[in-house]
Symmetry: C2
Subunit: 146 residues, 2 copies
């Protein structure tokens, strides 16, 4: 069971931006800090911009910053927006061929479990994820090799 790397990187990028609110940040900088692919991160950041979590200022001296305050960015909303699909199993999507669909008790059970998962994340904002530990590690730790 997993969420995609896309969402993982999106959450990390938001945490990074949350620790650096006093300035604009580049994609290169986030990629280096986390030791992840710049190209992959660019797609992630574009998705974050489209979803309204991040602002991108173009041109010389441009860069990225949060589009809202950390307390207004709900973690569950980020997961919902960034995941390509919340179709936990085949029958959550269209074109399901399973005989049990649509009145399947398993589907109901999994839907409830997914709701419980998201409910925990809906109670948290980016502000809950950005503390002294994150500020310290992301600002002063030596850059990892890319």
């Amino acid at each position: 069971m997993y969420i995609t790397q896309h969402t993982d990187y999106a959450l990390r990028a938001l945490i990074y931006l949350g620790t650096s609110r006093d300035r604009l940040v580049t994609i290169q900088e986030i990629a280096e800090r986390f030791g992840v692919s710049r190209n992959h991160l660019m797609k992630v950041v574009n998705a974050l911009i489209r979803a309204g979590f991040v602002e991108g200022l173009r041109g010389k001296g441009g860069g990225l910053r949060l589009a809202r305050s950390p307390g207004e960015i709900v973690v569950g909303a980020v997961v919902r927006q960034m995941e390509p699909s919340m179709h936990l199993v085949e029958c959550f999507g269209s074109g399901c061929q399973c005989l049990l669909d649509p009145d399947c008790k398993l589907k109901v059970a999994l839907t409830r479990a997914l709701a419980a998962f998201l409910e925990v994340l809906d109670e948290m904002t980016l502000a809950d994820l950005v503390g002294q530990h994150e500020r310290r590690v992301l600002k002063f730790f030596p850059l990892v090799a890319t």
Copy 2:
């Protein structure tokens, strides 16, 4: 966000066996009922046997049956055993390179969300998934094309 097809098929196979407790069932029969690959289902059933959810009786007249009563097969336990990994994101596994690890608040948040997901499924057994609807549909509905 998703769980694997392996677990999806495992749960469906258990539901099928739960509706057919008065006799032995073949893999071919389950594969035909759900219109899924027999080879894939064979791997799934072998995993269910290894995990102690299903008994396989070999030889002529052999077949499959539940190894325990439906009320003793906890859905959360099936998901835990069948999923190749419960590593929701990279940092749940070993060899994580993320700077925020191990004291990351995001990891704590995702761990809590995953626990909430499994908690819902831990409150349910196979008996909750096998009702009149499942018995009717799986027994009398025309076989789907394979």
